[in-house]
Symmetry: C2
Subunit: 382 residues, 2 copies
């Protein structure tokens, strides 16, 4: 048996937990806080809430909202400039995965220097990062607990994956109330992102009994609560369950890493700037079909966790219900079924496939993949 | 819903992981290592192995083995004297729960000063502790990942419970091979300790969906692997599973805290110095019977996790199988069924009950308890 590692930040979970942000930062020695957010989150009122609690704790801050979905290298470099100019010594991200990934990338550069592009891959960070507290406002990315940051290499229109335990924030504050300001489309796509984290971490070559139990529980929660969460902004039971599912899936994939869905999805997102969760949702059934050879027993468990009736069925029958359950959930959520609907074209398959096969997430995919295999999957999903 | 916290150290798990100890300590800035262990662990060769890897990493060390099961306040104070005299700046514990709890208590005093007795209760620690790496050699205590240290107040012959996130080690190295040198009695009693962690954390008032999933998985692993682990020193599959079960139960109880079994067991152990795991195993069925009112649904899940067939049974029938499963496991392991067999007497019930009701673990017990309730339970178990 191989040696495995497991790491998690301090996690504060529950309604109203956002009010602990000032206290958390003071405890970490923050004086001037770099507050990363985006215009949508500001409009929803969450940045204002954070600022209220920063002031209560006598903390200075600088608000930065110059980040877009699928955050770009130049946005990170611009943010770093503001971090340094305002002499900040701590970083808070309040937003979805893009905001949190950008905030973590800025923290990285604040103490390690250079261009963000130099840190692509695993364990390239040498110096400790400034204190980081992350507050997710979507139930999906898991960035608040993960050792990942995904940034667009703008010149190449590709995404780079940075993996390092230094990227795990000091504290994750998860307040399910923040999920009430998401619209249906964002709830659905981020929920499918969480599902793809749960499933890919579960069948990953680096999965351990500790990550597997978290992956499976996340799948159960998503199967039960993603539909009602998408149906109503005000169903707090569903928001709470989805926040917990995203957290558990995040802890699982941060430690077990992911697979081909993410390797491929990162590169589609780098080129066509479409919603990450939707790309994942489209690719997931195809990649699951491809990976089936690697782990039929695990597929049976996935099917069962997703609510399929596996009793009395053969392993082959039961395990194939995993694909059925994923497709039905995506269909109920009215997520597009083809990548062409998001703007991807046949001409892009070649370059995206070449980038995908170099993504760090491909290494833990449970079935070997050549660039030809990736191309074929893209053509099926197009 | 209340706000909950979750914290864990960095965890390194797997066979041969003990060889990473030097690298871990160097990373944490250690120069002179205080190596806490006990004579049994030294005899089994584990301290020697650690020393080998410390030397490989050019680390100085001072070996301290002056600790007994149910570690005493004066042992901690004596250990602190050696820590200071040898100018150590980091602490490693290699051993069972007693060694690890003593090592953590010494770390506490090294930077916070005073007597260990001043730190009884929750969150009394103000200054950061020196770097700590813990290597458990029993699958039971969970001390390597927990925010607990339990020390005997020798003058009162009672145990004090110290709870603080500062007591969570920086790194836990869990090498299942270390379990191969335990004899049957120690394997059984520490395994029952892990089971009591899993069950008490699961029904605790502070349980969360994140701790519950870990508690239940630990129960499943223990139900499946504790018997074979006790049967053979060389069954690595069983050792690995029990190491994982103890880890998951440890993460669960560190964050969800415990209940009356531990509140009572700590105080029995303080007075009569008997094996903690055996005291827990004896008390567990009685306390489960008492707590039944609080959580019948959860009892059904416990019964199912412990391998009972709950299909087609009423909630009442199914839930009561939890007690049956626990008793049968303890019986198969030939654990004594009465506290009197461990040396406790009727005359001690009064004072032990008074101490129990003041233990920090009583607060999260799912059913209210008076000192009279505790006395009655002790009389039943005597």
């Amino acid at each position: 048996m191989k040696v495995s590692k497991f790491m998690a930040p301090e996690i504060i979970f529950g309604e109203q937990s956002i009010c602990q942000i000032g206290e958390c930062l003071s405890r970490l020695g923050a004086k001037k806080v770099f507050l990363a957010s985006d215009p949508g989150v500001v409009e929803a009122g969450w940045a204002e809430q954070v600022i209220h609690y920063l002031k209560q704790s006598q903390l200075n801050y600088h608000l930065w909202t110059n980040v877009t979905p699928n955050p770009k290298d130049y946005e990170v470099h611009q943010g770093l400039g503001e971090y340094l100019a305002h002499e900040c010594n701590a970083i808070v991200g309040v937003g979805g995965g893009s905001v949190l990934d950008a905030a973590k990338a800025i923290a990285l550069l604040a103490t390690n220097g250079g261009s963000i592009l130099e840190y692509e891959g695993v364990d390239k960070i040498t110096r400790p990062l400034p204190p980081m507290v992350m507050i997710p406002t979507t139930a999906g990315s898991g960035s608040e607990v993960s050792q990942f940051s995904i940034i667009v290499y703008s010149e190449r229109k590709a995404k780079i994956t940075i993996i390092s335990k230094s990227l795990i924030p000091d504290i994750a504050i998860i307040d399910p109330q923040t999920l009430m300001t998401k619209d249906r489309r964002l709830t659905s796509s981020t929920g499918m992102d969480a599902l793809s984290h749960a499933i890919e971490s579960y069948i990953s070559l680096a999965a351990t009994p500790l990550t597997e139990v978290l992956s499976l529980k996340a799948m159960r929660l998503i199967a039960q609560y993603l539909r009602p969460s998408a149906a109503s902004r005000y169903n707090m039971e569903a928001k709470r369950a989805m926040a917990m599912a995203s957290l558990q899936a995040g802890l699982a994939f941060s430690n077990a890493i992911l697979g081909a869905v993410h390797a491929m999805s990162h590169q589609v997102g780098g080129l066509i700037d479409a919603p990450h969760g939707e790309i994942n949702a489209i690719l997931l059934p195809y990649v699951l079909e491809y990976n089936y050879l690697a782990a039929p027993e695990k597929y049976k468990n996935i099917a069962e966790a997703l609510g399929e009736n596996v009793a009395g069925k053969s392993l082959h029958e039961a395990s194939r219900l995993a694909m059925k359950a994923v497709k039905e959930l995506a269909s109920d959520l009215e997520i597009p079924v083809r990548l062409s609907a998001l703007g991807m074209t046949e001409e892009q398959v070649e370059v995206i496939s070449r980038h995908s096969i170099q993504d760090a997430c491909i290494v833990t995919n449970p079935r070997d993949m050549t660039v030809e295999d990736v191309k074929e999957l893209f053509r099926k999903a197009l």
